[in-house]
């Protein structure tokens, strides 16, 4: 795997602004929606005209100062941005190395970074005159954020959620319903995020006239990976400004967990051209990559085509999709956003993985040390921080995207603690 190959040839040094513009890693995708050989628009013909319409409308909106103004208003007064960049003093002390900062996305309205994207997409849906919003959800955070903006803008909302996920993230199901969404259980496959996405695509293909499909991560056909990234990039932009204000310089490393990869790309993207910054994405290794029960598409998968894009996938020798496994419903997906696949291929971002057990341990440490209950997804990134921070110098500035809060995971945590007591 080329993940760790020398950056020399691929990331030339940026001596002049002109050269910088020519060699920037932040210009993708190309006109065909490709990041290198990843991405694209692999969908049924019925959806192609809709996807082209959406791309055109998004391009227009991006250039419209009114859209920008409206987005900024809702980000500030509805979502609660900017989210703080918080010095995690106790964890820093505990690790005894790098200075650890939390980008507090869990403080956003609805408790995760997901709302950043939903606010952007609902404003687009409004521009396009759509009255009905559909979405897939895994952990339910994207479902809740979608239901939230649908309620705010008075739109009908239908959420597809795997039956396994409905069981393990019950609190989020109730939240969606409270805000008027219809939650449709998907029993196909393993009843997780992949199956919910299939079903949402089937709904979209059936209700082409009035429906806006709000994809929750940086995957799917172009323009979704680029559009969702742009809406999430507010995370990295704020981090940049906040770190400059608080420490007078840019961070040395960035760490985020990755399912589809929206919180990670949101933090990473504004820093991709700052080649001195170490960027680390953390996949879910489930029971361990060697067991085959994991959700690490980059570390344990190969390129393929699913859900509208070419990317790394967990699949069999026959090209059949293999179900992912992770204790965290939000990372339980057999693919990954195409821009991550490309960043992996060119070696700009290092992608590692963390097991269920390591994530749970990190979860408890964060609760006790910082008084913050992180989402199980986020706990994967924390586990990676605990592996690295102790070995780094005290002046190393490390930012972790605290992408979501863990209230939704109580049931899973309690279940796990009971199991441990039984084994003890």
């Amino acid at each position: 795997m080329p993940a760790n190959r020398a950056h020399g040839a691929l990331l030339p040094s940026f001596h002049s602004p002109v050269e910088n513009a020519m060699t920037s890693l932040r210009t993708g995708p190309d006109a065909n929606g490709l990041f290198g050989s990843f991405g694209g628009q692999y969908v049924a013909e019925t959806l192609m005209p809709l996807i082209h319409d959406l791309a055109a409308e998004y391009e227009k909106a991006k250039l419209d100062p009114e859209f920008e103004k409206e987005l900024a208003y809702f980000q500030r007064d509805f979502v609660g941005r900017p989210s703080p960049l918080y010095f995690a003093e106790r964890l820093t002390e505990m690790c005894g190395g790098a200075k650890i900062y939390f980008k507090r996305e869990e403080l956003n309205h609805t408790g995760a970074h997901k709302i950043n994207n939903c606010i952007g997409q609902v404003l687009l849906a409004k521009r396009m005159g759509k009255k009905r919003i559909i979405a897939e959800t895994g952990a339910g955070m994207h479902g809740v954020a979608t239901a939230t903006v649908a309620a705010r803008f008075g739109m009908e909302c239908v959420i597809y959620m795997g039956s396994t996920d409905i069981h393990r993230q019950n609190a989020n199901v109730l939240r969606m319903k409270l805000m008027g969404a219809t939650v449709i259980p998907v029993v196909a496959g393993t009843g997780t995020l992949k199956d919910a996405m299939n079903e949402a695509l089937r709904d979209w293909v059936t209700n082409v006239d009035n429906t806006f499909y709000m994809i929750g991560t940086v995957a799917g056909p172009h323009p979704y990976p680029a559009m969702v990234r742009d809406f999430q990039a507010v995370i990295g932009k704020e981090t940049r400004d906040q770190m400059l204000a608080q420490e007078g310089r840019l961070p040395d490393s960035l760490i985020a967990c990755i399912g589809g990869g929206s919180n990670a790309i949101g933090l990473f993207h504004p820093f991709l051209d700052d080649k001195q910054i170490k960027i680390i994405g953390v996949e879910a290794a489930g029971h361990g990559i060697e067991t085959g029960k994991h959700a690490a598409s980059l570390n344990g998968g190969v390129p393929g085509v699913l859900h509208g894009n070419r990317t790394f996938l967990l699949q069999s020798d026959d090209g059949q999709i293999i179900d992912a496994h992770s204790i965290s419903a939000g990372l339980d997906y057999p693919g990954i956003g195409p821009e991550h696949a490309w960043l992996h291929e060119v070696g700009r971002v290092e992608y590692t993985s963390v097991t269920d057990t390591e994530a749970l341990e990190a979860f408890h440490i964060c609760c006790r040390q910082e008084g913050i209950i992180p989402a199980l997804e986020t706990a994967h990134a924390l586990a990676e921080v605990f592996k690295r921070a102790p070995n780094l110098p005290k002046d190393h500035l490390m930012v972790i995207n605290l992408s979501g809060r863990g209230d939704k995971d109580m049931q899973t945590i309690v279940h796990h603690m009971e199991q441990q007591e039984q084994h003890a």
């Binding site: 692999y42 992949k194 299939n198 059949q320």
Partner: protein, 269 residues
Amino acid sequence: MSRLQTRFAELKEQNRAALVTFVTGGDPNYDASLAILKGLPAAGADVIELGMPFTDPMADGPAIQLANIRALDNGQDLAKTLQMVRAFREGEQVTPLVLMGYFNPIHKYGVERFIAEAVASGVDGLIVVDLPPEHNVDLCDPAQAAGLDFIRLTTPTTDDKRLPKVLNGSSGFVYYVSVAGVTGAGAATLDHVEQAVTRLRRHTDLPLCIGFGIRTPEHAATIARLAEGVVVGSALIDQIANATSDAQAIDGVLSLCSALAEGVRGARA
């Protein structure tokens, strides 16, 4: 002339439409599926579409989703589907056979290897649901260069502006998906189909085959008066789903096929 061209030319001579049947390769299992495949020409199928199973058939409704699962659970894979075509071709040289499915299994098999083996096995054309013309280089271009027809899906959302892009590079026939939706769902109104056929004829001379939601001989006959072909899939697959034995599955599919063929053949009489 290709087998598809020959078949549609013959049928034009006879002033009748083609019955195009879809079944999933390996459903309910390899042997029963091969028996169905071998029986289809005699039961009146003029063109055969054989599904390549995939775990995530995003454009298919419940009937074909379950067919995919049955086939995969019983060990079907792309190599076996190609093997099935070779076995079919041992006794059958005239009925065109088109493979239909999703891109990932082909991508994993290797595009070059897949095309070479498909040609050698006696496959006539390909329908790949998630490869719009925007991705012609992925498979359409090399497949056509190797002599395979690439059959395009057009839909109610494919407007006049987009149609030329979709039809350019289409060969064999044009598959009109008559409803925006998944396979096996509701049927289009006759008015809608008439208008769509008129619109498509302005853009192409290729034979038009209409599919989605056609389940009965009567319905098939109605469509057969308007277009060069009628595609039936989910209704045939339901015969497999409802069967309690392989023999019943085979008999169910072939009996319905015969009835549909009778409808199609009598349509313009």
